[in-house]
Each structure stands twice: as C-alpha cells, then as structure tokens.
C-alpha cells in the first residue's frame, strides 16, 4: 500500500518541472524589468 503510494508519487513528482517554469518566469520578469528601466530612464 505504501509502496503503491510511493510509486505514484515518484511518477507524479513534478518538482523539477515547477522549478523549470519558475526559472522561465524569472527570465520573463528580469527581461521585462530591464526594458522598463531603460524606458523610464530615456
């Protein structure tokens, strides 16, 4: 029973996915902010 749940969790663990999309979001946030700062300063 616990082995089943363990296997299901291993099949379902999406921590790497979550971290990857957070990095993606971070890239969007950084690049957007960079251009925004450039805009404000011109």
């Amino acid at each position: 029973m616990s082995r089943d749940r363990g296997e299901k969790d291993k099949q379902h663990s999406l921590k790497g996915t979550f971290l990857s999309v957070l990095l993606l979001g971070g890239f969007i946030a950084l690049s957007w902010s960079g251009v925004y700062i450039l805009f404000i300063n011109r």
Partner: protein, 562 residues
C-alpha cells in the same frame, strides 16, 4: 467504444501512409522548402548589404528582396508546411486516409494558393510590388499583387474546409468518442485562420483592389491598417499552434513517454481561439487615430494569450520529467539526461521550445503599451520574430520533416540523415544566436528595421551600430548554410531507402497516461468558443473601429515611391 477506438489507432500507426494522401502532403512540403530556399537567398543578400559587405546589382533593390524574403518565409513557407502537416495528421489519425471530398478540397486549395504564389512572386521580381509583406497603404502595388494574395488566402480557406470535413466525417463515424487530439487541434488552428483572415480579406477586396485599379481615388489608411493587424496577430498563432501540436502530440511518443494532460492541451488551444484575435492593436500602439483606452484594453487581452503558453511550458517540462522518472531518473533535473538528445525528431523541436523562452519574453515586452516605444520598428522586433517563427516554429517544422517525409513515402529515417539533421539544427542555432542576439541589442540602441545600408550622414549613433550589423551578416550567412543543408536534407529524405513495418519512419502519436481522467466533452463545443470569440472581437474593436468608420480621416491617394 472509446477504449477500442484507442486500441485500434495504436495498431494503425504501424500502417503505411496512404499513397494518394502522400502526394498531397509532399506537394505542400516541396513548395514550402522551395520558398524557404528562395527566401533564404534573399535574406542572405539583405544581411550582407546591411553589413556593408556587398552592394546589390542595379537590377535588384534592397526593399524588393526584402519583400520577397517576407512573403516567401512568413507567408508561403509557413502556410504550405502547416497545411501539409495538418493534412498528414488528419489522414493518419482520423480514418487512415482522407475521404474523397477532403482530398479534392486539399488539391483545390493547393492549386489556388500556388497560382497566387507564382503570380505574387512574378509581381515582386518585376519590382511591381516593393511594398514589403505588410503592403501598408498608401504604398500602391500592381493590382495583380493584391489579386495574388486573394488566390493564396482563398486557397487556404478551401484547404481549411478540407480539415473540417475530415473531422466531421470522423465524428459521424465515431459517435460518442472524444476526437483524436491531432484532429481537435487541427480544427482549432484552422478555425483561428478562417476567422483571422476575414480582416485581411476585407481590406484587400474592398480597399486595396478597387483603389489600386483606380476605381476609387483614396484609401483610408487607418482602417486598412486596423483590418490588416486584426489578421496580422492571429497569423503568428496560426504558425505557433501547429508547432505546439508537434510538442503536445508527437514529442511524448518520440521520447518514449505519455501526453501529460490531454484535457489541458485542448484547453490551451481553446484559449488560443479566444485570445489570439481581438488583440491587433498591440501592433499599432504607436499610431494615431486609436484611443489610448482601447490600446490598453487590447494590451490586457494580449496578455491573456500568454496564459496558454505558460500552460504549455508546464505541460512539456512535466512530460519530460514524468518520462524521465518512469525510466528511473532521480533528483530535480535527472530527467534531463534521459531525453533522446541524439534524435533529431526530439532535438530540433526541443531547441525550438527552449528558444521560445526569450522569444516569448520579448513578445510580452513588445505588447507592453507605452514600452513598445523602446522597440517599435527597430531591429529588436526583427530579432524577436526570428526567434519565434524563424527558430521556434521553423526548427519544430524541420524536426517534423525528418520523420514526416520518410513516413509518407514508406521510407526510413537513416542514422546518417538523423546526424545531418542534428548538424543542421546546430548550424541554425549558432547563426541565429549571432544574428538575433545582435538584432535585439542594436534595436535597443535605436537601429531601425526594414532599412538598407546607411550611416544617416555619418551620424555618430550609426558608428555604434555597425559592428552589430556585421555580426548580423555573419549570423545570416551561417543561417543560409543551414537553409541549404535543410533543402539538401529534404531531397535526401525523399530518396531514402524503403522500410518495412519495423524500419519505416513512424508518425509519432502520443498516448495519454493511464491514470489520466477522461477529457471533458465541453472542450469540443466549437459553437460556444466561436461565440465567445465573436463577443470578444466585438468588445475589443466595435468602439475604436466604429470611430474610424463614423469619423473617418481623409483618404490617401496612391503612391509608388520606389
């Protein structure tokens, strides 16, 4: 009923592709890659001119070859590949062959589009249509250029009807079953296309053709631009959605995994139907004649269309991670190592996915209302779309070609072709890194797009830009080598050795995970989605477009300034 249908289609994937349908698919791919080659020659010349390395012979104009480059790459290569790919997939997944009327519609569309393509190309080469692929009024091309566009668009409509007809046939013969994911997504893509092209059709039929023949004296420029960009934004989703189809449907099979969520994949395409069209103003942010409130409202709607891409990013990483973990990968990123990097059918589309990260980030910046002033009509925009369509979409389409061409012919994807494919992909990435990277940078410094070699009277700003132009020329030359190699690879794939049921290239169709819940039927209620889309279009456009109609600006006479 549903279970046996899925079983049946899994066995079908070993079946050879229908011979008649193969001809239709290949016809489209051949035109697509020929357009890529010709458009690539044009692009090479542009890069070398702007980099100050060559001067064009007097018979050729920079803006003439730029028009050819835009039309061949962004209209012909894309549309033909997409239609070929969609027809192949609906033949494969919805009945194993196209029914008679669908095959006839497919050929009729092909013939009409090709007449238009040839006519348009002649006009461009004769310097009668040096108006760039956006053909903004009041630049006036030869009326037969606009007629050529009509042939291409009407041809594509007919091709779309074929997709709908095959889908309807499948649903009639599989009552109660959820449609195959490929068919669902193909219908969604063609629905976007049919509704989006209404804008460009209206302006070409009712404005440009009468005006260019001299039947009416003036043209309302803002109305023509608004109708064009009503079309111009969803055009890019017409390119992107087939790429997403490869990612959602084919990639899981190629990597030995399952589709992460059939329902969420369909939902993302429903969101594309809703939000890719009522957003044209974000291409018109620096224009007069549109109230700031409506520009901002369409910016908000534009940001909504980012959401299905955020969903797709999650779904793809999740597919990779689940597949890797099922194979025993451990740790946060162990699953990365288990991906088939040496398989061009995965590698090329994956690189397309990766590049979509900076590509999409740039797109969000472009659409950000007043921030658009930083990038409008600069080379940043050119850098942006060379990432989105010319890398993400192009590499995905190339990756598809490596199995689609041999599959429809019953031939093999040999290890040698696979290796050439990897090399071609790497060459593309290197060239694009230099070219697009430079374009983004020098664009932020103010360097304009769509402009031939100049120093603006030796203004000091242009001295700063020159090294980037040189880098663009180098990157563009490397990309041209990539174009040649891709064309060569296409021919080689067509001449590959025949395969049998085990060695012939397969059409990779992913299956959903066993524990996944059944797909809700409401996702397939096309009438509801189109209805909501119409409401959104009316909301986003009625007041500002109505204002243009009721308080029109004075029209403009034709100009031939080249």
């Amino acid at each position: 009923m549903t279970a046996t249908t899925i079983q049946a289609s899994a066995a079908d994937h070993k079946r050879p592709f229908d011979g008649k349908d193969a001809k239709l698919v290949l016809a489209h791919l051949l035109v697509a890659f020929t357009a890529l080659l010709l458009g690539g020659i044009a692009g090479l010349l542009q890069g070398l001119v702007r980099g100050g390395m060559i001067e064009l012979p007097s018979e050729l104009g920079y803006y003439q070859i730029l028009t050819a480059h835009g039309v061949l790459m962004a209209l012909i290569f894309t549309t033909y590949f997409i239609i070929g790919f969609l027809y192949a997939g609906v033949s494969k997944t919805m009945g194993d062959r196209l029914i008679g009327v669908v095959s006839r519609l497919g050929w009729a569309g092909f013939v009409l589009m090709t007449i238009g393509t040839i006519l348009g190309t002649i006009m461009i080469l004769a310097n009668e249509a040096t108006v760039l692929y956006t053909f903004y009024a009041p630049l006036k091309a030869n009326p037969f250029f606009y007629i050529a566009l009509v042939f291409v668009v009407v041809g594509s409509w007919i091709s779309g009807y074929g997709i709908f007809a095959q889908y309807r046939y499948w649903r009639r013969t599989h009552k109660g079953s959820v449609s195959p994911l490929f068919g669902f997504m193909a219908v969604a893509t063609m629905l976007v296309w049919q509704i989006a092209t209404i804008g460009v059709a209206l302006t070409v039929l009712f404005q440009f053709i009468p005006w260019s023949f001299g039947w009416v004296e003036t043209i309302n420029v803002m109305i023509s631009r608004t109708l064009f960009w009503y079309f111009g934004h969803p055009l890019v989703y017409f390119w992107l959605m087939p790429a997403y189809m490869c990612w959602y449907i084919c990639i899981p099979k190629i990597i030995g995994g399952k589709i992460f969520s059939d329902s969420m994949a369909r939902l993302s395409f429903v969101l594309f139907i809703l939000f890719s069209i009522p957003v044209g103003f974000h291409h018109q942010l620096m224009e007069p004649g549109i109230a700031p409130l409506w520009k901002y409202i369409q910016v908000v709607l534009t940001f909504m269309v980012v959401i299905p891409s955020l969903m797709t990013a999650f779904a793809l990483f999740a597919t990779f991670e689940q597949t890797g973990r099922a194979k025993g990968a451990r740790g946060l990123f162990g699953w990365l190592k288990s991906l088939p990097w040496g398989d061009v059918r995965f590698f090329a589309p994956f690189m397309g996915m990766l590049v979509f990260i900076p590509a999409g980030a740039g797109g969000i910046i472009n659409a950000s209302n007043q921030m658009n002033a930083m990038v409008h009509n600069t080379l940043w925009v050119t850098g942006h779309f060379h990432l989105t369509v010319a890398t993400t979409v192009a590499l995905t389409f190339f990756g598809v070609a490596y199995w689609l061409i041999p599959h429809v012919l019953g031939k093999q994807l040999t290890p040698k072709m696979n290796r050439l494919g990897i090399i071609q992909t790497v060459i593309w990435l290197i060239g694009m890194f230099f070219m697009s990277g430079s374009m983004h940078t020098v664009g932020l410094f103010g360097a304009p797009r769509r402009t031939a070699y100049t120093t603006y009277g030796d203004h000091p700003d242009t001295v700063l830009w020159m090294p980037y132009y040189v880098a663009m020329a180098i990157g563009g030359t490397i990309l041209f080598i990539g174009v040649i190699l891709m064309f060569w690879n296409m021919i080689a794939l067509m001449r590959a050795p025949k395969g049998d049921a085990n060695t012939a290239a397969e059409f990779p169709i992913g299956e959903t995970a066993e524990h996944a819940e059944p797909t809700p039927r409401w996702l397939e209620r096309w009438g509801v989605w189109v209805g909501i889309l119409v409401v959104l279009i009316l909301f986003a456009y009625t007041v500002p477009f109505g204002d243009m109609l009721i308080n029109p600006s004075p029209g403009a006479k034709p100009w031939v300034t080249w």
